[in-house]
Each structure stands twice: as C-alpha cells, then as structure tokens.
Amino acid sequence: MRYSGLKVIKEALTGHKGWTPAWRDPEPKPSYDFVIIGGGGHGLATAYYLSKIYGERSVAVIEKGWIGGGNVGRNTTIIRSNYLLDGNEPFYEFSLKLWEGLEQDFNYNAMISQRGIMNLIHSDAQRDAFIRRGNAMILNGADAELLDEDQIRAEYPFLNFNDARFPIKGGLAQRRGGTVRHDAVAWGYARGADSNGVDIIQNCEVTGFRIENGTCLGVETSKGFIGAGKVAACVAGSSGRLMAKAGMRLPIESHVLQAFVSEGLKPVLPGVITFGAGHFYVSQSDKGGLVFGGDLDGYNSYAQRGNLPVVEDVCEGGMAIMPMIGRARLLRMWGGIMDMSMDGSPIIDRTHIDGLYFNGGWCYGGFKATPASGYTYAHLLAKDEPHPTATAYRFDRFEKGRMIDEKGMGNQPNLH
C-alpha cells in the first residue's frame, strides 16, 4: 500500500478501516540466498537496498527481539557528515545524500529535519583544527561553514559565551546535518523491504553458525536451522557475542553509552549543538524535550544501563555551555550497547569464512550511517566487492597499519 496525503484523507472519512499492517509476519523458509542477522537500522536498510537496488528476492532478516528495539531505537538521532579522514568522509557524505532523498524513496515519513549542526570552538587551536576539517568536508562535496562569535550569538543568544575557562569563540556549522525520527527509519526500511518480498522474522535468535570446510551454510536459530547462500552479520553492540559463535575475535569492545531527555519545553534550540571542550551535545525533539548525551561510561558492558559519574559529567557539560538547562527536569535516561572498534571506525567486509560477512564497529555514530551502511553492505553481498565509498572499512587495516582514527587515540576503544 502506498501512503499519501490523499490516502490519509480517504481513511479519515471512512473510519480508518483500510490500513493494513506495514509488514508481514512470516515463518522462516528452509533457506534463503541471503540471511541478514539483526533487525536494527543497518540490517533492515541492507535488506531494503539488496532487494531494491540489487534486485535480490530471496532475503530474510532475522531479529532476536522486535525490529527497532536495539540501538536504532536508543540513539539521539543526529545525522551529519562532518568527518576529516578520507576513509570516512565520502562514506558519510554518501549517507547524508541518501537521507536527503529517503522519505520519497521508501514512501515513509521519517521526519528528517535538516536543522543544522554546530560544533562550538573554544580556542585558537581548535579553530585551526575545525578549519582543516571543514576544508576536508568541502573537498569531499559536503557543506561546511565557519562562524565567528557574533554569528553564533545571533543564532544561539543564550549560550555561555564568556565562560572563564571555555569561552565560545566560534563554531563549525554543517547546515545539512540534523535529526531524524529513529523508529520511523527502522519501520520505513522494514516496510520497503517487506514489500519487495524480504521476510522479516522477529523473535528469532541466531544461536550459532553451521560452518563446514570453511564455508558458512546457514544459521542455527531459536526457530531451527535456516540455510543461506550468504550470511550477513549486522548486530551492532552484540557483534562480539555473535561472531564468537563463528570462532572469531573482533577488533571491537562493547561499551555502554547513555542518553537523556528533559521534560517538554517550548522551542528553544533551533539546531544541534556540541560542546567543543567537554563531551556534551544537545538538540530539541519535536515534542519539546531536550535530547542530550556525552561520553561513554568507559568500561565493557552489555547491561544497557550506565552509572552516575557519567550522568554528572554530561550535566556539567550542559551547564558549562547552556546554563539555562539547569532549570529543566530530566524525564528519562537510558543506555545502549556500542560496538566500539579499535580505531573508532566501522568494518564492512568479508570474513575468512566463505559466505559469512560482517558489518559492525559503528561506535556511537552509526545511526547517521544507516542508509550508506545498508547500501554498501548490500553492494558487498550482491557483488562480492566493496562499494567505492566503503573500500577502507576492511578487517585487515589494523594489520596493515591503515587505521581510520579520526581522533588519533590509538587502539583504545573507550577513548574514541
């Protein structure tokens, strides 16, 4: 069923009796050409592009819970393409361009809002670094704009410009960045994939791989064995746990990241802002809540909840740049499990086992990557060669010394 304004009016007049479920709820078939493990944003996007762009019709997505219940439903919904390094920026800019056409493409309202993102500058050295980053963005076809203090004042008059320790000296803006309704991304991709014949199988956990003579023949699940021509792992924070079942150790640690939402307020924040001296970022949801977050808790975790020191640290960051936030009450907070890689960048690659593919290592920034991650993973699965924008996301980059380390932190996942 195609959604349209006309359809909404027709249904309103006829008692909303004509709506059908957005996707089917099929039982698994004995085998598929492609089995994608994980019904998060990336898994569903992979299935969507595999069926739509690469014409594959025998595809299943296997999800242990319900689709969209993982990180795609837990993130702070920021999209942007403001990276520095060559391995990253073309990929994230490809993703941002896909976001720009996504709602028309999959006929679903994902509330994509290009309200702009502003990274604040607090020192001369930081300005130099941001100018360099802005130039790298422009060279890769993205947009970037350097603002001085007065220009920021015009847009965000309430910021704490004269803080003694971290005065605000300017900012790097990406006007095409913004926010998206994250659940709708999972639902839109699920509906699109389903209408192309993809089976979305929920409440079905992958418990093991059937591997014979170095070839993966399918997956063992809580609903029995499902055969597959190609198996595509795409489980974000569960990557280490899942791939251990195939005997693999990954350049990834799982860490918890927390997010916070305040009570609903009148519109105060037109775009997304990030503090450049500590770790704090904030936007305002369409319902009025301030959505904000900061650092990882910093230790390995699968618990989906964090501890109080980080709550304090994030709130201090908020008070430092935006003192009025102290008047808002916190409504909700939660945690999600991040697949933190050794250089802070993702992996989209074959494994050493034939027929087994891997997508993961998204750290705290994989939501913005959802369209491009799905597209390029589908490309790899269909053609057995990397998409031109994702050639750097290889397993062997650590061995070869080709890390993509935006922050220059080295192999310490909790510092990326």
Binding site: R241, A244, P251, E253, Y302, A303, P309, F398, E399
Partner: protein, 95 residues
C-alpha cells in the same frame, strides 16, 4: 560502581582509568616466529564476553596501582579485585 581495592577498601570507580581486558598483561614473545600475527592479535583483537570478564583498572586518583578486576559485563557486579602485579607474578611474568 564500587571497586574494593585490596589495600584502600571501597573506592568509587570514577577514581580509576579503564584499560580493558586483562589479557593485555600477556605481552607476546617478540622473538617468536609468529610475532607479527601475535602482536596484531594482542593489540587489536578482544574476546569481548557477555558475562564475567577480567580487566585492568588503574587507580589514577589514588595509589596509582594497577588492578585486575573480575566483573560481570551483563550486571556490572564485581566479584574479585587483585593487584595486577600479583596476577602477573603468579603467571611468572614479573619479579
């Protein structure tokens, strides 16, 4: 999280710096035939278990000792805390 330091007693985990899996104590032999592969695995690959894990914490805001903490990554419960030097000595890695 409270870490029960062997000599200083219960301490807030915020006083510590986290390094990660305690297998980092086991630096590979730099003269082995397989040294390149061994050091790659040592530096970049992790077990990353859901459940009990032994990991290195550094008491930066305290006595600057390295500890091996046994903690469950699904509940954050800490079940054992040892000095890393004792662990290393037991494995014959330190004097």
């Amino acid at each position: 999280m409270i870490i029960h330091h062997p000599t200083l007693g219960p301490r807030d985990s915020a006083e510590f710096v986290y390094l990660g899996d305690a297998s980092l104590i086991n630096r590979p032999d730099p003269t082995a035939e397989t040294k390149a592969q061994d050091f790659h695995d040592y530096a970049y690959l992790r077990d990353n278990p859901a459940g009990p894990i032994r990991e290195l914490w550094f008491h930066e805001g305290g006595d600057r000792s390295w500890l091996v903490v046994t903690r469950d990554t699904t509940t954050h419960e800490i079940t054992a805390v040892e000095f890393a030097r004792d662990v290393a000595r037991k494995q014959g890695r330190s004097v």
